[in-house]
């Protein structure tokens, strides 16, 4: 393993997005992350055991098991190993507790009551490994009256105040196209665990990290809260507009090959950028009194946006974005997900890399969005693991179990892969 966390190990019970992405980031940073999964209740992001294969996988010979070919799972579990253990079975729990003795950190994103039900609450875990770091990502945190109220990204987004801020001017609140609070929680939990590792290294003391997705998301729109706290105002939904700068928006570009939508994002944050935009457009905006000063442009933003829309709509998105960028204007094409996978800059920087998955095949994936000059992480990272792919390997390596002993766990249904018998 390489990367700044080489030499550390996590035994994790993460699932879905927030927890899985947190532990995946740690794995891509060089930690040995062992995902422990329960076949009877598989990671929801693996999908149903009987779910149909995605269309582009149907002709791939190795793509046989839907639970190993889920895009959701395979996208947020890079850099990890996976074993299966039934924690409801005494033998599975015994193995798990022995694994914890080899862990620097554990992470999970169950409801707060679950770990206690397993006998694995933080204090109980400390009895097994005194300096363990446990990160718990839950909807509303481990105490307070909503502690055991369930939630996911799509419900935390409204309950954290985020949805009230996202939307078109005058329109209803929206949720993001994906469940953005999961991302916020995943990145923050990764940061918290790294912080706790440093403290553990210096003092020998582990700790408990209590991440409430509601709080993490609310902290992410903290200045909107401060606006309320200092002025009594609820910030309105602003679309793509900015409090200070205009123009600041997403505008139509000429359709590609005459069909389909294309958009360009464009903003001016200084007079130099505004003059550069005016020069490129050559439509007399620099002489238009409505747009003379930043305050004028903000006051006449509807007219300004209308003028820009009329101009951009006749231009090729990528050519215009390049010209604007070269002129120093803040601009970018609005890429769709397939274009992101093919983006030359993300590929040049090795953030989008080809990852060979044993069942789903070879696909460009977004890997670690971090670069280190000395402790360079492994690129491409290990692909997302098959369910139970590393059970024999990990139990032999960490618990010194023989192949026969592991086979016995499989025969008993405590481990294995795929739908339970």
């Amino acid at each position: 393993m390489s990367g700044p966390l080489a030499g550390t190990r996590g035994i994790v019970l993460t699932q879905a997005w927030a927890g899985s992405y947190c532990s995946s980031l740690l794995g891509m940073l060089g930690a040995d992350v062992v995902q422990v999964e329960v076949r009877k209740r598989p990671d929801s992001w693996r999908g149903d055991y009987a779910a149909p294969l995605a269309p582009m996988l149907r002709d791939i010979e190795t793509a046989r098991n839907p639970w190993n070919c889920s895009a959701l799972y395979n996208s947020v579990n890079l850099g990890k190993r996976c074993i299966t253990l039934d924690l409801g079975d005494e033998r599975g729990m015994r193995a798990f507790r022995r694994l914890l003795e080899h862990a620097d950190f554990c992470a999970e994103n169950f409801s707060p009551r679950v770990m206690g039900n397993f006998g694995l609450a933080y204090e109980q875990m400390r009895a097994i490994k005194p300096d363990i770091i446990l990160a718990s990502l839950s909807a509303y945190g481990h105490d307070g009256s909503w502690a055991n109220v369930p939630g996911i990204g799509g419900t935390i987004e409204p309950s954290s105040g985020m949805s009230a801020l996202l939307g078109y001017e005058g329109g209803p609140p929206l949720n993001s196209g994906q469940m953005y609070p999961d991302v916020v929680a995943g990145y923050n939990a990764c940061a918290a665990i790294i912080t706790a590792l440093r403290h553990r290294d210096r003092t020998g003391e582990g700790q408990f990290i209590d991440l409430s997705m509601q709080e993490a998301s609310l902290a992410w729109v903290g200045d909107a809260f401060l606006e309320y706290a200092t002025t009594g105002r609820q910030r309105p939904r602003m679309g793509n507009r900015h409090h200070t700068f205009a123009p600041h928006g997403v505008y139509p570009a000429a359709p590609a090959d005459g069909e389909g939508e294309r958009w360009i994002a464009l903003a001016c944050e200084s007079e130099e950028q505004w003059r550069a935009l005016c020069d490129l457009a050559a439509l007399g905006w620099a002489e238009d009194a409505r747009f003379a000063t930043p305050a004028d442009r903000k006051a006449n933003e509807d007219a300004l946006d209308e003028a820009i829309r009329g101009w951009t709509a006749g231009h090729d998105r990528d050519v215009l974005a390049s010209r604007l960028t070269e002129a120093g204007v803040v601009a970018a094409p609005v890429l769709d997900a397939l274009e992101v996978a093919a983006d030359p800059v993300l590929r040049e920087r090795r953030v989008v890399v080809e990852v060979e998955h044993p069942e789903a095949g070879r696909w460009p994936q977004v890997a670690l969005p971090m670069h280190f000059s000395r402790t360079v992480p492994e690129v491409p990272p290990r692909p997302a693991p098959l369910q139970g792919e590393h059970t024999h390997e990990v139990l032999a390596e960490l618990l010194d179990m023989s192949a026969d002993e592991v086979d016995e766990l499989v025969r008993a249904g405590v481990s294995g892969g795929g739908p339970p018998d």
Partner: protein, 412 residues
């Protein structure tokens, strides 16, 4: 429980760390705010006209920038103009005294200033760059912001509705996400240096890449399906986000069989609850048109907190769309001590608490947002060891900005 009671005394995760922040961006400011909250002594180097964030709306009635109030809190501020050679010399000395330097500047700008990692020439230094597009590659010198990060990362392509233009996420999404990733990278590099003295390094975080990382499920899912994820159809995806209820908006995310069954029973749609086909998520997703209109109609008869409580009892995931005022009144957040005030401004506004609570090394908010250059003289004296005479000379040369000794300044 009262609010604003969460400044704990105790060990600090980064209490031994000095950070010099020469960044001018929201992402850089959030990186160093997180480092400060974890206990680092963060020295913010701002130009003589003030940090660019101080000019960003919205403002309080006394003209204070609210984004700056949040992003610059918990730091000491020195006024040093990096474009002026005399002033820059002091900034270089400060940077060389640091464990971590945070920068948001392009490679060419750092080179022109003589502030590249190589020029700082301290083997133990961690220098963390947090920029729109990263320090290498075709876009390293290109300007960017939260809007363009949302565009290039793909996020805008799926935000909003099909009848309108793509939307960036609300607020400073790319800046905050890049900020916490930069924080994580800086602390990881610091931890490495702790164990390997003189093995500092550069950490390079690009806002667009952090947002692309957050877009990974859509990138792979779109390839597996052969078509890119798109924005929501406001009619066909009627349950895809908050929907209208009697007193606002409410999100019902029906991702599991029992969520569906129990929610339909609460809404009085017992025939839908009992139809086993809808217990399977992929089937439910593919047959939305069969039930969406009825569910929406039933929800309109409920008040959002009543429906939330009713569903919470049944452990069904659901979320009322709350405003900031409503959130400030939620007892749960008070019970957890989420709101907090700066330790040096107990009559000041409540701030949101940290994104996570750490049992052994809690984050604290010790300092209110500094005035521009407020700690210049203090830092020059205590960090760079300057005498009063040396500082007077620098001030006469215009090399340091309008900092005032803290003891002579009124606290606002």
């Amino acid at each position: 429980m009262t609010s604003s009671a969460t400044n704990h005394a105790g060990p600090r995760a980064l209490g031994d760390v000095r950070v010099v922040d020469i960044s001018y961006s929201a992402a850089g400011a959030w990186t160093s705010r997180l480092l400060a909250d974890a206990g680092a002594d963060v020295i913010l180097v701002e130009p003589s006209e003030g940090h660019p964030l101080r000019r960003l709306a919205p403002f309080t009635e006394d003209g204070t920038s609210i984004p700056a109030m949040n992003l610059l809190a918990n730091k000491r501020a020195v006024s040093l103009d990096l474009d002026a050679p005399h002033s820059r010399r002091s900034a270089l000395d400060l940077a060389k005294s640091a464990d971590i330097v945070i920068s948001s500047h392009t490679p060419s700008r750092l080179k022109a200033w003589g502030m590249t990692y190589a020029a700082l020439a301290r083997p133990s230094l961690v220098m963390c760059h947090v920029t729109p597009h990263g320090m290498t590659g075709a876009l390293a010198e290109a300007p960017g912001n939260d809007l363009t990060a949302a565009a290039r990362s793909g996020w805008a392509s799926i935000n909003g509705t099909t009848d309108r233009e793509p939307l960036k996420p609300a607020g400073w999404a790319a800046s905050y996400c890049a900020g916490v990733v930069a924080y994580a990278g800086a602390v990881a590099a610091l931890r490495w240096r702790d164990a390997h003295p003189d093995e500092g390094q550069e950490v390079d975080i690009a806002e667009v890449e952090v947002m692309a990382g957050a877009f990974a499920p859509a990138v792979l899912g779109s390839q597996y399906r052969g078509v890119p994820n798109g924005r929501r159809d406001p009619v066909a995806d009627g349950l895809g986000g908050p929907v209208e209820v009697a007193d606002g908006y409410f999100a019902l995310t029906l991702s599991r069989a029992h969520f569906w069954r129990d929610a339909m029973n609460v809404l009085g749609l017992t025939d839908l609850a009992e139809d086993e086909r809808y217990g399977v998520s992929w089937y439910r997703q593919q047959h939305k048109e069969e039930y969406t209109a009825r569910v929406l109609e039933a929800m309109r008869g409920w008040k959002k907190m009543d429906l939330f409580e009713e569903l919470a009892v049944r452990r069904v995931v659901a979320g009322p769309a709350l405003t900031m005022e409503e959130l400030h009144g939620i007892e749960h957040l008070r019970e957890r001590g989420f709101w907090r005030r700066s330790a040096d401004q107990p009559d000041g506004p409540d701030y949101p608490g940290p994104a996570y609570q750490m049992s052994a090394t809690p984050q604290t908010l010790d300092r209110r947002t500094p005035r521009s250059g407020e700690h210049t003289l203090d830092v020059m004296r205590t960090v760079l060891g300057m005498s009063d005479g040396q500082m007077l000379t620098l001030m006469e040369q215009g090399a340091v900005g309008h900092g005032y000794p803290e003891s002579t300044e009124e606290q606002s």
